[in-house]
Symmetry: D3
Subunit: 283 residues, 6 copies
């Protein structure tokens, strides 16, 4: 019996968070191991559905990762590289879209539905809700920068109690345009800002932002980020991640979280426990 | 970290129940120690608010107990007794109403509000929503039997996201009528039946229904109750409790629960864990 | 026939008032003889229901008066007095609440319902809609000053076509706080101001405000009140009454009325006849 | 003061009727002196508006009477007569429509609006809401019998709080058809039946139905009507009037009233006093 | 088959206009031959219904023309003339109203209904939606100038998917006032401005505004109109027409069209083809 | 001008159809040349948008055709064949889904959006709205038969004025299930039946159903189909097409159309002209 009571108490620890976040939009960037490991996938789905049931409105944005490269390889499509980034040709774009939207997006949608939600998968081409222009004057081909998000499509889905699952492809806003390949982190931040989300949460394969002694930095302000970037504490692949966070926070999202998707139920831990598990960036 | 993950898992154990009970009405008869012990009171309030936040619609029905006798004593009001039951004279009724509605009801309402809900206290006289006639031809004075429940008052409150807290007093449906004193257990069952509630739950000071060896009977059917009554397993004060359960179950409420309000968070344990802690009666 | 036609004409005299007051909120402070005399009680109920049927939204605020003292005496609770006012101890407060909310409020609610309306009785603790802080730093114990009114609870009731009947007790906005005892006249004025009421009407046991020759002053402006107070025309128990009126009028209520509740149907006379029967205070 | 109180009491006598008739449709056939005498016209308008304000939904149906004949005379249009009834030729029909719809209907509409309502005048051609076929195979030309009433047009007006004022002209349901001339009494009865009205009231220039000794028959049943027709008590012009009443009552209208429009405020007297002033026919 | 395909292509030419005008109000002044010639009448009705079906909200305003004079003549009513304009006496006004509202308005309403719409005919007296004061201090009798339009009556009809057909008579806003005779062109412009219409379209018996060489002027700006008036290009009966257009355009209506109602389907041609057929005036 | 008038007349020929089909659902199976030829694609988009603008609710179901085989070939995925049908292995299914949902569906969605509609692309996995079981006990692998359609997802989209574009993939209703490949014609018929569509229209690369002399059969009844199948008139690839039509018609869809998508604007021709261009099958 004691054990059971302890269990009920844990349930109640979530109470203040449930109250605080009722009817708030959380944009969750889903990626990394949590998107690959079967066990983590199921836990992610459970977490999202719990959020949904207690009144939070989750919006999922996912990336594509290795599967895109696999199919490009199988099809022997070679790519040019500029600044270490793959240039998205029309041929590449077709593969990107097939994998992102025709494979991964549907897999996530189905995963959530099979755990009991009503998820609907969309891309920027659906309802033409997200459009883009070429990044850096087209230096990277069809890699795009979002220039418009029409909230109504997502808001309609949220009103009908659906969980939107978004593949980061933007419409080119022209007939026969193949669309644009959008960085998933930036898509998540832009969508969060446009929807007036309370949080944007990045599920990654790292513990969070670390200081020079490899200790987790639990919270970061804009100023601290500047200083950590300057002294090299934040460097390499962490820079774009942190920049995506800043993008959202600067546009009015209250908090951006970088959390470790390799930890089981990391979403619930971050949202429903007092100290969380990753790094929180606020303005 | 492991401990935290265990915590998240516990949270998720509640998931199937949260899904199942979304938008369902639970009528909770609140009484006994859980209504007196300050610590249990706060836990009860937390439990009710958690139910509310995850989408359940709780309706609280409470009794009066010792406080009524205390005030009758202080006021030196003597009562006649018939069949061991106090006859409710007009003088007694006035005290019953003042204590139930002017003291206990407001205390519970305030308790729930202070934990963050929006509770509203009512009696059958509000909106004339519950009327009665004298029980057994008035043998017990103003002790009444419910003859009409107008769901609209409670339904209006539920629609507006209020938690109704009901004192078991019925309107006499006449000008200047002092009203009727209703047994709280029966009021809870009748209200549950009238509202089409999913559950009626009795918070008591007993473990549940016990067999002859003092072991808990986790589930009981109508037939088992008959047989246990016949052989004396169910006897004494347990008989009216079990009859109130049957009243509800026979009128279409899926399950009636008798649980131990002395156990912390007994409401959550009963509702959100697989085997519960008390006795469940179903048809 | 002639008599009947005269009757029809009288009915039509009310027409311009009915038009003018459609959908307007009238807060009515109910007290004095009209709350005690059985005949006047029924006439009051008829009047309120007629107002309701012709499209006015009545909100009733009542006091407690003699019944509180009676119960305090019976329970031999002694009170300290400061400035001639009874200090409300916790013990006194419990009695105040039981009488106001558990006795008088339910009696009025039932009275209105038995005449055909749907009235619901509430106090500031219901939905925590009215909170207070101690008056004059607690000099008078739990006598409070309203610091917040949340209109939504009353507005919800009005939308559902209920007549709210309000006992002037405010929530202390803390767990286990016994609440505050509020002067009923001031509660009526504050509630009228908060709801944007068209009128606040005080049913009293006086003819209205009188001049030095005991003639009724039919209308009073703010300036006249100042001058009558200065020269002693308005004095004694009339001062707080007039101040409650000013409170409402200064906060935007169009008119405050002090009328003689001892006159049968005084409410209808004041509202539906051209010259009314009491004193009107306007800004 | 006493006089005023008597006035308030008279107001309250209307209370049970106001309750009973809230949201009910009353179809009123307006005609006779009440439509001609300037003083009676204004009183009629006041009465209708009072009904409207206390929650009744009045629908006015009017006839044309003398004005049609006047214009036919001025235009020297001669008519054939069959069975003593004027045959409605196309030429006559044009005059009927101009007078009914372009003169009388607008006059009544304006009268009601000037007394403070929002009345809208329509004929069966508006929204094609009332269609007819020739009466007795066209024996009387364009005199028609209603064969369809589409309630939606009137119901839309009632929902928007308008008072519909209906000229008894029906659409011929064909392009270029001049429409049909409908007996106003029958139109009122048919419309009342179609709308599910609570009452149909005929304002006439007679006291009501009289027995052989010229005493008013306050109530009449179907059976009594048969018998009074048989013995000649009901005869002449009273027969079609009574038949129009029966038409409505047989189709489910609770009561049909024949009242004396020459009496001031006869509408209010009939509706809001216990014994009324005319003859009531019920099933 | 080729012919059919050509037909489909023509249908599609309307597409951009249908998109652009969805949910927009078009006020159409109906008059001239299109109101007299049976064939043109039917085509007009078809055109209006097509507009309605593809999502445009047509509002029809009509004049009276020859029929008023005919009836005045038949009734031998003589009129005084001032500045070449007939003075509208009360006697004349009665005829104007009977013809406009009791004859022409109902004919148009019926015409539209017989082609499948739900049209409702009204005048300014209905719902008192349009009031006027005497033009030029009453120099022309009951010829009025609109001083108030209450959009709600028309908007209610539009919401219920009715097509309003308006006779240009204004209420005099007094009991027993015969109303005012309003110039139909000006009524159309004022109504268009008040409703925030997208277009006001005048169906006339001329090709449009012509230059000195009798060539059609397809578009006109305010400045061009001034200059053409100055040099006499626009003169005579064209001046008030053009002024009515300016009235609407200056009040915010995007475009005013003068088109040739003698051309079959001129409404469709003007609205759904790229260059239209008449003269467009824009700000 | 004459030409223009002819054009307007053509526009009006569509009038009765527009009236008849307002608010009706049309399910359109999009395939064949109309899905490949750039010119026909644009015309198809225009046609669909015109339908939408005049009040019809189009639902598009598409197939995949050659593109699936192309990608299977490029990826050198070999398939087993049973009864001449390719068995859908998991490997094949992944390609089918990527092409149908990640390529073709988005292309059509974008095409419609670029012509001015708001289209949203979905598959049975979105909102889990269409589930299937293996056809013929899995003889063909993941080729499925629809066993459930949840209309709410499509109905929500239609309510929000979106055009749903559906890829014929069904959910397997299990975690990690790759889904089922559904015959697009049957999906269209089943969806039409489930939604209560007025029409299902198949865009094909044939003229329609032909008789033995290669003349078009404009209409076909169930009985005629039986007899034409029996005598071999309907044979080969036409049989499943006709069976899909019967499936819809037997389930209550009023008409099923087989039309020639190679003809420009064939959709408009079939819907808005009196004799259509293909074969209609009705019950």
């Amino acid at each position: 019996m004691k054990e059971k009571i302890a269990q009920a108490k844990l349930l109640l620890e979530a109470l203040p968070y449930i109250k605080k976040y009722a009817n708030q939009i959380f944009v969750i960037k889903y990626g990394g191991s949590a998107q690959i490991n079967p066990d983590l996938k199921n836990r992610f789905a459970q977490d999202v559905i719990l959020l949904h049931l207690v009144g939070i409105k989750p919006v999922i944005v996912h990336g594509g990762g290795k599967k895109i490269n696999d199919l490009l390889d199988k099809l022997q499509i070679n790519s040019e590289f500029v600044d270490g980034m793959r240039v998205t040709s029309e041929e590449v774009m077709e593969v990107v879209e097939m994998v992102l939207c025709g494979n991964i997006n549907k897999e996530i949608t189905n995963l959530l539905n099979m755990h009991g939600s009503k998820a609907i998968g969309i891309t920027g081409k659906d309802g033409n809700f997200m459009t883009a222009t070429p990044k850096d004057n087209g230096k990277y081909g069809l890699v795009g920068e979002i220039n418009m998000i029409d909230n109504r499509v997502i808001e309609n889905l949220l009103e009908e109690k659906f969980i939107p699952v978004i593949a980061p492809i933007a419409s080119g806003n022209e007939i026969n345009h193949p669309g644009f390949n959008i960085n998933a982190d930036l898509a998540a931040s832009k969508i969060a800002a446009s929807l007036g989300a309370r949080k944007v949460i990045f599920l990654t394969d790292i513990v969070g932002v670390l200081d020079k002694d490899k200790n987790l930095l639990s919270t970061l302000t804009k100023e601290q980020i500047e200083s950590y970037k300057a002294d090299g504490t934040i460097h390499g692949g962490m820079i774009p991640k942190v920049d995506a966070c800043l993008e959202a926070v600067n546009a009015g999202v209250e908090k951006a979280h970088i959390i470790d998707g390799r930890v089981e139920h990391s979403l619930l831990l971050e949202i429903f426990t007092s100290d969380g598990i990753g790094t929180v960036i606020r303005n």
